[in-house]
């Protein structure tokens, strides 16, 4: 096993912008191998987007306290400053966002922005840059790429813009691609196209990808490994087969059971996870999921669980893993 490309250790991110401190990420350990796709799966407040943005150091320095370490191919990301930091962004690691309209400057054409990105990091002429941009557009399967290079963002459809954003991210041949819910805002038929494209590009270019999503289906389609996050912590991590076929954390089990709509469940009530997403300004002591967990015991409420290794590469942070081998017991349905 070659050394992992990206290593995140004991990462904690606390925001001090509002009245109370928000602990968005609480002790996250992650590693991303070369050519691997890792999906961060979770709902709002899980800390998945914050983790991703911290890799690119996108948060406001004054209002964010970051602890722990992030190392990309040997570079200490958290120690980067100034010129080194701007060089890092885009070249070593690049990001694609959920809303492509927001990532593009509306007053410049898409082609201009890609060329700008390339020339920011490499010494190429404008013509060379444009040639590269054209190649990228062909690679992301944008029809009539020559013409589209000169289009403004608002002139493109949603799917096209997303492809353009992927082209922008890949412009400087980054080592890591960070995808923050890039398909959430897309229609179903377009989402499938973009996911297939990303998978194809990842294979061709050997990219390492961290893919943040709240949709299990998306994670299954693209990821090699899945990390399920809740309240700023990773509660379960493993290969995609481990997590989908043999989930062991009550939260993962809950998520997967609500996803089993369709056919089988019509007429019955959905097995729903009770309660609401956690309040990150007032996390309970112990396991953050305990207030909503069927299997919660006193231990769960008092002590935050440590990671338990269930199989090689399959870790779960739960005190009750012994009771989840066959899934969750059938509980009273909540509404």
């Amino acid at each position: 096993m070659s050394a992992p490309l990206l290593e995140i250790e004991r990462l904690s991110v606390t925001f001090s912008g509002g009245k109370k401190l928000v602990r968005a990420v609480d002790g996250v350990d992650l590693s991303l191998g070369r050519g691997e796709v890792l999906s961060l799966l979770g709902e709002s407040g899980s800390g998945k987007s914050v983790t991703l943005r911290t890799v690119l150091r996108l948060h406001n320095e004054r209002r964010t306290k970051v602890e722990g370490s992030i190392r990309l191919d040997g570079t200490d990301v958290l120690a980067l400053k100034g010129r080194a930091l701007t060089d890092f962004r885009g070249k070593e690691a690049a990001m694609i966002f959920q809303e492509p309209m927001l990532a593009f400057d509306p007053v410049y054409t898409v082609g201009q922005q890609i060329v700008e990105a390339i020339r920011q990091h490499e010494q190429v002429t404008s013509a060379e840059g444009r040639k590269r941009a054209l190649e990228l557009f062909e690679r992301v399967r944008i029809p009539s790429p020559e013409r589209r290079l000169d289009a403004y963002p608002h002139e493109m459809s949603g799917g096209m813009r997303q492809r353009a954003m992927i082209a922008l991210a890949l412009a400087c041949r980054p080592k890591v691609l960070l995808a923050d819910e890039p398909t959430t805002a897309l229609d179903a038929t377009v989402q499938v196209q973009i996911l297939l494209l990303l998978r194809e590009l990842q294979r061709e270019l050997g990219l390492s990808v961290i893919f943040v999503t709240h949709d299990i289906g998306v994670a299954v389609e693209v990821a090699d490994r899945i990390a399920v996050m809740y309240a700023g912590r990773i509660v379960e991590i493993g290969s995609v087969r481990d997590v989908i076929r043999t989930p062991r954390h009550p939260y993962t089990l809950g998520l997967l059971s609500t996803r089993g709509h369709g056919g089988g469940l019509s007429g019955d009530r959905l097995p729903a996870i009770p309660g609401s997403p956690p309040d990150l300004t007032a996390l309970p002591p112990g396991c953050a999921f305990a207030p909503r967990c069927q299997l919660a015991s006193d231990v769960c409420r008092q002590a935050a669980p440590e990671a338990v290794t269930l199989a090689p590469g399959h870790l779960v942070r739960c005190h009750r893993t012994a009771d989840t081998v066959k899934g969750l017991p059938k509980a009273a349905v909540t509404s």
Binding site: Q191, L195, L196, E221, G254, L255, T258, H261, V333
Partner: protein, 357 residues
């Protein structure tokens, strides 16, 4: 008994056993809405957005009709037209046998019977009114006394799972998305409607909260004998909630029929493509091919003939010339597909052969 509409659309073959359908509650026919594009002198003259371009459907009492489609299909506009929040350019809405807006059913009376829950839970509530004031507003408009309206509001809050003593005096910004959506449901129910239109009501919620709200909706439907129109882009949720599903494309109905029949044996290529875009839950059997290329087109200049023909793999010359009407598909419950391939009389090479009579 076959309705007049069913007989009109009959395309031959053995008539199905007359299904025991519940009475039709909402009958929409020929609904049209075009929005003028801004620009040009006086803000007109740049073309129209054909948001809804001839939509017919029926909602039967006690059922849940799901409406699915992608951007530009017109499902939200249809919802607002049914609610009469926008005035249709053409078309007729009949509620319980009576013309809406006519002398026997003025708008105000109609609105007490058909209510809507919107997608954006925060924007749907007046930020300056407390929760119970928001819920009690509707009934007071219809003559209910203030004290009774407030009592009803509190009872409804309790019913949707929000303890009145904790929530009645709060403001919308103090509640979470799921809680606000429950308030919106309570607000819609305060008028004791018979039909509830849910326009992407759970789309903005987290999955875990979404399941709770869906369960609540099902409970309320059973308890109060409601009829739902459930609009969503999430095909799995629609499959779970609906008895029948209507698929819309570019302002027209592509297919409408019983849920399972539609999901398992769709007869319109767009429906098939849409269902084919559902993501796999099995890591060993991932999707390998996207069923459709390109983005959903713009309803400003829809293609001639069948609107889907530009992206359809089975399109033929006929498809760009003639608009396919709804063709009845064999089966118990009414199932229609607007496709030449389903129509024996169309002349499409893939149309079923005429059976010997």
């Amino acid at each position: 008994m076959l309705s007049a509409e069913e007989i009109d659309n009959w395309n031959g073959g053995t008539p199905p056993a007359p299904a025991k359908l519940p009475p039709a509650l909402l009958e929409v026919s020929g609904l049209v809405k075009h929005f003028p594009l801004k620009g040009g002198l006086f803000g007109r003259g740049q073309g129209v957005v054909r948001a809804v371009d001839g939509v017919d459907f029926t909602v039967y009492t006690g059922e849940t009709l799901g409406i699915v489609g992608e951007s530009g299909c017109g499902k939200s506009t249809t919802a607002r037209l049914v609610m009469q929040l926008i005035r249709p350019d053409d078309g007729r809405i009949v509620f319980d046998g009576v013309d809406v807006g006519g002398p026997k059913l003025p708008l105000k009376g109609y609105r007490a019977q058909v209510q809507m829950v919107f997608q954006d839970s925060y924007a749907s509530l007046n930020p300056r009114m407390t929760i119970e004031e928001s819920i009690a507003f509707g009934p007071t408009v219809h003559g209910v006394s203030q004290s009774e309206a407030v009592a009803r509001a509190r009872a409804l809050l309790d019913r949707v799972g929000l303890a009145p003593q904790r929530f009645a005096g709060r403001y919308p910004h103090e509640l979470s998305g799921g809680q606000r959506q429950r308030v919106n449901i309570a607000r819609a129910l305060a008028l004791k409607p018979r039909v509830l239109i849910l326009d992407e009501a759970v789309s903005a919620l987290d999955k875990s909260v979404e399941a709770q709200v869906l369960n609540l909706l099902l409970d309320l439907k059973d308890e109060y004998g409601l009829t739902y129109v459930f609009i969503s882009h999430d095909l799995e949720v629609v499959r779970y909630m609906s008895d029948r599903v209507m698929v819309m494309y570019l302002g027209k109905v592509a297919e409408i029929g019983p849920t399972e029949q539609l999901y398992r044996a769709s007869r319109h290529p767009y429906t098939t493509a849409l269902l084919g875009s559902l993501l796999s839950m099995d890591p060993d059997r991932r999707t390998t091919e996207a069923p459709l290329a390109g983005d959903p087109p713009n309803p400003i200049n829809p293609p001639p003939g069948c609107r889907f023909h530009t992206r359809c793999r089975s399109a033929e010359a006929l498809c760009s010339e003639k608009v396919p009407g709804p063709t009845r598909i064999d089966g118990e419950a009414p199932h229609y597909a607007a496709c030449h391939m389903a129509d024996r009389t169309s002349g499409h090479s893939r149309a079923p052969a005429r059976s010997p009579v």
